[in-house]
């Protein structure tokens, strides 16, 4: 009488699975094995689809067969997942560092007329006058617009702001009148900068239109203020994107392994291998 190769259980008849230890009593035949290597063409999705046949070897239990079939896929998925999580962690850490970094600049001080070049200052302006209305209107987004700023204590400063910083803070007015339309003083943070030749020529051309003769030695170059937050946000979004994409691809890998495991379990249950 034939015996189970694993537990020695004697049986007669055409059993495929040992009733005692649940091991396979015979291997699959070569036709099943050839089937497992092949498939068919699916015109609906224009892809080749693998057959769902599984090969079981004599003496193998269901658990061992599942492990044999899925081992490589699970290992690949884990390695890929590890790489994705490392990349995600690096991006998240750099994003958090960017948000929390105090910045290299010292705390700004209140602006005075004799503030030295390179000082970080803060100037509270209750009115802002662009040097030339036409110049302001036509300024491209990345251009510096020069304005006279008047402080609450009636001090004046020349301020260089970007178009975006000006946008929404002005109403259209005629040149020479107050242009700032805010309920509260406008806090301008920036660095006291020496007026270079390029800035000077731009300021002078505006002055000529106003028939003024003014050559400022220094002006306040306003901070954009948003670069740190913007970079941090971009890094955070990038890290979330990497995480999402990685999880999607991982789930496809695990789904494939689960499907193959299900085929093996079905083969054992129906004793069809």
């Amino acid at each position: 009488m034939p015996q189970c190769p694993r537990c020695g259980y004697s049986y007669d008849g055409d059993l495929r699975v040992c009733p005692k230890c649940k091991a396979a009593l015979a291997s699959s035949d070569y036709k099943t094995a050839l089937d497992s290597l092949s498939g068919y063409y699916d015109p609906a999705t224009s892809t080749f689809v693998r057959n769902e046949s599984v090969v079981i070897f004599k003496g193998e239990t269901k658990k061992e067969a599942v492990r044999r079939v899925t081992k490589g896929k699970i290992r690949t998925a884990f390695i890929f997942g590890l790489i994705i999580f490392l990349v995600f962690g690096a991006l998240l850490a750099s994003s958090v560092t960017r948000f929390l970094s105090p910045g290299s600049a010292p705390d700004p001080v209140a602006y005075t007329q004799d503030a030295a070049e390179g000082t970080n200052v803060i100037f509270e302006a209750d009115s802002l006058i662009p040097l030339a209305e036409a110049y302001y209107d036509n300024a491209p987004n990345d251009k510096t617009v020069y304005c006279f700023a008047r402080g609450a204590d009636k001090t004046y400063a020349l301020v260089g702001l970007s178009y975006e910083q000006l946008n929404g803070r002005y109403r259209r007015i005629q040149f020479g009148t107050d242009g700032y339309d805010g309920a509260k003083p406008l806090k301008i943070k920036g660095i006291v900068t020496k007026t270079g030749s390029k800035e000077l020529s731009e300021i002078k051309s505006s002055m000529e239109k106003a028939k003024m003769n003014f050559e400022p030695v220094k002006f306040i170059k306003a901070d954009s203020g948003s670069s740190k937050a913007l970079t941090g946000t971009i890094l955070l979004l990038l890290s979330l994107f990497v995480l999402g994409l990685g999880l999607i691809i991982l789930s496809f890998g695990f789904r494939k392994a689960r499907r193959q495991a299900k085929n093996v379990r079905n083969a054992f249950r129906k004793e069809n291998f």
Partner: protein, 123 residues
């Protein structure tokens, strides 16, 4: 499916004559790369296969085997080698598997050693 009429998402590679592992007969075959797209995602599943004309069936191979065939000088020989390796790996422990492998090896050596007509295939 019309043989070698696979247009979407596939790259059709070497076309050759070889011994089919399914029928053990001489037949035409083509090496293909098939990518399955899933909705808006790019191809996450790339399958490589040798498609045999006689039974219109693909035999799936992995990426390194595909690269071996593509880079080899004699595609016919490379396809036979890859097929033999796959058969040994899968059929070795199955019922009737060893005999099938021996028959395939016999047919392959007869085909590859055929004089003059197959010199072009071996080139």
């Amino acid at each position: 499916m019309a043989f070698i009429n696979i247009k979407k998402y596939t790259a059709v590679g070497a076309k050759l004559t070889c011994i089919s592992p399914f029928s053990q007969q001489e037949t035409e075959a083509v090496v293909v790369r098939c990518c399955s797209k899933l909705g808006f995602l790019p191809s996450v599943n790339t399958d490589f296969a040798i498609v045999y004309k006689d039974e219109n069936k693909p035999m799936f191979i992995n990426a390194s085997q595909y690269r071996y065939i593509v880079r080899s000088g004699s595609k016919t020989k490379a396809v036979h080698e890859v097929t033999r390796a796959l058969l040994i790996e899968t059929l070795k422990k199955t019922q009737g598997g060893r005999e099938w492998i021996e028959r395939f090896e016999f047919q392959t050596s007869k085909f590859l050693n055929k004089p003059s007509e197959n010199n072009a295939a071996l080139a």
